[in-house]
Every structure is written in structure tokens, then in C-alpha cells.
């Protein structure tokens, strides 16, 4: 038996609203299939399932808002007797003693505390009651032992909400701003950032790209941002500690390189969904995935794994005229890479000064996980990858 729970799609999410089920009781489902749509403060998300089997029960109704981790459906897994086995959870082990974790996506959704959010001490029955009443436990003060939230606390919160004058629900853009503010404030408060930057000669990469695009039809052209993403992904394979998550006071390296791409939304705010296995995609496949991801992010049709899986974030503000980006790490990730605009600068090489297109690459990294030495090697690796664009 497997449980399908409200996933945590980023460190800033505490609850989600079920918009609709795409499957019914009795339907056969495949691992990776989208079975529900969930509304978060950032976007409407298509939620995938991580088990194969038959849906036995649906426990949450459409329009119901429930805390992360709430069991929303029970799935009878194929080849397993009902009630015998829980959803397998890969071991998470501290680095360096243990193997790398496959990817955050296959883990059970972490608790808020694991990803840096507020820890909620609440009994299962109180959590169930909170879900039934649409109360977010994070917003409730516990009066039980050790601050534990009791059923009475939930009932009191429900009464208080009923008694309170109706408050206008802020629109999604405002809510997104609030949660970005909370996540970034927490990141700056808890993560000891260090920052490095380097200037990269882009002449070879851009010349190669020009030649490539000349050979291609309009539909098959590549934008230079894809080269940056691939270079980052390949450099992470050499400096893997930056491709990690920080959880419960420990760092865990991720086997998969899932680069999160910061995408600004036209109504304001941003999301940073993952390009899965960025290091293994060809430039053409990466371009297709990148284009598709941007379109879906702006259309509000991202998938749950894309929001839960990034192992690092890349942000580029060059098109806004910015020369260098010193970003804030998105927890539980441990690094963020920024790119500024490509600009022509005097460049000295082999005793000759010439004008070359250059870009400033920056690294914001978590000093609990890496030191400047390794961060510097990472930026050097990004630089070297971009000097051999044909190998990307």
C-alpha cells in the first residue's frame, strides 16, 4: 500500500489546495503519471504519483486545502498485498559516509523542518482534523506538551477564523511575493552565504552558436542560455558538493543534476523549476526542454517533480541589462549560479588586447557545505566548459 501525499513543492510551501483529481477510485496508475492538480501560492501544479498500482481511496475533496504531507489517496501497489508495505523511502545518509541520494524527488515529501520551514508538532488526529477544517497547522499555536498542537487548538483556530471578519484573500501575485520574501529571509538568516565571481570570455561559445544556428532551421535554433545551463551542469559533475541539499543539519549530495531555472512570471514573481538530468541532455534536447519549461511555467502548468527536484538554481538577468547577479540560495539547495549580460570588453590574451564578448558568472554558495576554494574550482570549470562549446 502506498500513500499519495500533498507534496512539498519548495521550501516555502506549507499547504496546497486540491483543484481536481484526474483519476478515480479503481483506476490503474503508473509511476510518474499526473493524477491531480494542486493550487499553491505560486502556481497550479500537475502532481505526479510515485507508485504504480490501483487507486484504492481518495481522501481529499476538490477545493480542499490541506497541509503538506497530508495523505490524499491510498494506492494499492502492483504485486503487493493491501496493507502490507508502506511506500519505500530511500535512505538519506550523511555525506561523506554514505552513497549519494538518487534525487530529492524520490524521497517522501520532507517535513517543513527538513527544508528549513517551521516545525509543526501535531498529533495525527489533530492533523486530520486540521485538514478536515481547512486549517493550516503552521498558523496554529500549540498548547499541548512542548507546544504540541492538539485537537482543541485546531477547533479553537477554526472558531477564531469563523468569528473573524472576512479578510480579502490577497491575489496570487501578492501571496507569491509574501512566500518569496519568507523563503529568502530565512535563507539569508540561516545560510552562511559566500560569493564568488569570474569573467568568462564568451567569444568561442558565441561564435560556435552562430555557426550552429546558421545550419539550423528557425525552429531548431538554440539560445545561448542553454550553453550556460549545460556548462553549469557539467561543472557540477566535477564539484558535486554544490549539487546537494541541506537537510536536518546534514548535507546530502544528489546523484542527479537537476538544474533549476529561475523564470520570471509576467504577472510578477518567479519560479525555478528543474530541468531533469541537465548534464545528460544533448544541447538540442536541453533547448527543447528549456523552451517547454518556460512556456509551461508562464502558462501555469508545471509538474510537481519540476518544483521539488532542483538541486541548484541558475538565474540570468543579463537580458535586463544586469552585469552581475549575487543571488540568494533557495533552500534546501546549497548553491545558486548567476549570469549577467554579455558585453564587449577589452581582453588581453597572448600579449594582445582585443575586444571580446564576456559574461560575469557568480556563485552564491553555502559555507556549511563548501569553501571558496571549491567554489572557485566550480566557476573555473564553468569557464572551461564554455571554451569548448562543441563538447557541451
Amino acid at each position: 500500500m502506498a500513500e499519495f501525499v500533498m507534496p512539498q513543492l519548495g521550501a516555502d510551501m506549507t499547504s496546497g489546495k486540491l483543484l481536481r483529481w484526474r483519476k478515480n477510485v479503481g483506476d490503474r496508475i503508473q509511476r510518474g503519471e499526473i493524477i491531480a492538480d494542486v493550487e499553491t501560492d505560486k502556481a497550479d501544479i500537475e502532481v505526479e504519483v510515485f507508485a504504480t498500482g490501483i487507486i484504492e481511496r481518495l481522501l481529499v475533496r476538490p477545493e480542499e486545502r490541506v497541509p503538506i504531507g497530508t495523505v490524499m489517496a491510498i494506492i494499492q501497489e502492483e504485486g503487493k498485498l493491501p496493507g502490507v508495505e508502506a511506500l519505500p523511502i530511500p535512505a538519506m545518509t550523511e555525506v561523506p559516509a554514505a552513497p549519494k541520494i538518487p534525487t530529492p524527488a524520490v524521497l517522501a515529501p520532507p517535513s517543513s523542518a527538513e527544508v528549513g520551514g517551521p516545525r509543526v508538532h501535531i498529533s495525527p488526529v489533530a492533523r486530520k482534523l486540521a485538514a478536515d477544517l481547512g486549517i493550516d497547522p503552521v498558523s496554529v499555536s500549540g498548547t499541548g506538551p512542548g507546544g504540541r498542537i492538539t485537537m482543541a487548538d485546531i477547533e479553537q483556530a477554526a472558531r477564531a477564523r469563523k468569528a473573524a471578519p472576512a479578510e480579502a484573500m490577497p491575489d496570487r501575485a501578492a501571496r507569491m511575493r509574501q512566500i518569496i520574501a519568507a523563503a529568502m529571509a530565512r535563507s539569508k538568516r540561516e545560510i552562511p552565504h559566500y560569493y564568488l565571481s569570474t569573467t568568462i570570455d564568451m567569444s568561442r561559445a558565441l561564435a560556435w552558436l552562430r555557426q550552429e544556428n546558421l545550419k539550423r532551421s528557425v525552429e531548431q535554433r538554440i539560445v545561448y542560455g542553454v550553453l550556460l545551463l549545460k556548462a553549469v551542469a557539467l561543472a557540477l559533475c566535477e564539484i558535486p558538493e554544490l549539487n546537494s541539499i541541506w537537510s536536518n543539519g546534514k548535507v546530502m549530495q544528489c546523484t542527479d543534476v537537476n538544474v533549476g531555472v529561475a523564470i520570471s512570471l509576467r504577472g510578477g514573481g518567479l519560479v525555478a523549476p528543474a530541468l531533469h538530468n541537465t548534464d545528460r541532455l544533448t544541447i538540442d534536447d536541453l533547448m527543447k526542454s528549456f523552451s517547454d519549461l518556460i512556456q509551461r511555467a508562464r502558462a501555469g502548468s508545471l509538474r510537481s517533480s519540476e518544483l521539488s527536484d532542483p538541486t541548484i538554481t541558475v538565474t540570468s538577468l543579463g537580458e535586463q541589462g544586469v552585469e552581475a547577479v549575487f543571488g540568494i540560495i533557495y533552500p534546501p539547495q546549497v548553491a545558486l549560479v548567476g549570469f549577467g549580460k554579455v558585453t564587449e570588453r577589452p581582453w588581453s590574451s597572448d600579449g594582445q588586447v582585443s575586444s571580446r564578448p564576456v559574461i560575469t558568472a557568480t556563485l552564491s554558495a553555502d559555507h556549511r557545505v563548501s569553501d571558496g576554494h571549491r567554489g572557485g574550482l566550480f566557476l573555473s570549470a564553468v569557464d572551461l566548459k564554455l571554451q569548448e562549446p562543441e563538447k557541451l
Partner: protein, 84 residues
């Protein structure tokens, strides 16, 4: 195809890329990038959309000529046979 017809197609293609923008408010001499907050991926999708609609293959070197609405119409008019 007349300039007005080309303009109409340009606005339609742009409207698919930036659906929330009011195309009637576009100032023809101002940069589209500034008015619509479009990026390089949007620009590529714009070029792809124009190619599908008008069968004009726009090389990367000419992207700068598409900076404004008037620039787009001028460029496409010059590269489209039978334009009035």
C-alpha cells in the same frame, strides 16, 4: 499582402507569446522588448511564429531589425513578395 495585413499578423504572433499584453497599446516606434518584457526565448518564438505565418526565414543577424513594431513590418514587407 499589405503592410496592415503584415502588422496584424505580427500582433497576432506577439499576442500568442505575451497573451496578457494589450497589443493595441503598443507604440510602433518603441522597442518591443521594453514594452512587452520579452526575452531571447520569446524573441525566438516570435521569429518561429512569423516563419510559420509568413514563411519568412529570418537569420539571427537580422533580429535587431525586429526591435520595434514598425521595424518588424518594414523588414517583413521587404522580405515578402507581393507586399503592397
Amino acid at each position: 499582402m499589405t503592410r496592415d495585413e503584415i502588422k496584424s499578423i505580427v500582433l497576432r504572433v506577439l499576442g500568442r507569446i505575451v497573451p496578457e499584453a494589450d497589443m493595441q497599446q503598443l507604440k510602433p516606434e518603441q522597442r518591443l522588448r521594453d514594452q512587452l518584457d520579452i526575452d531571447s526565448m520569446d524573441l525566438l518564438n516570435f521569429v518561429v511564429g512569423l516563419h510559420k505565418e509568413l514563411h519568412v526565414e529570418i537569420p539571427e543577424a537580422d533580429y535587431s531589425k525586429l526591435a520595434t513594431l514598425n521595424g518588424c513590418v518594414d523588414y517583413l514587407a521587404a522580405h515578402q513578395t507581393g507586399v503592397a
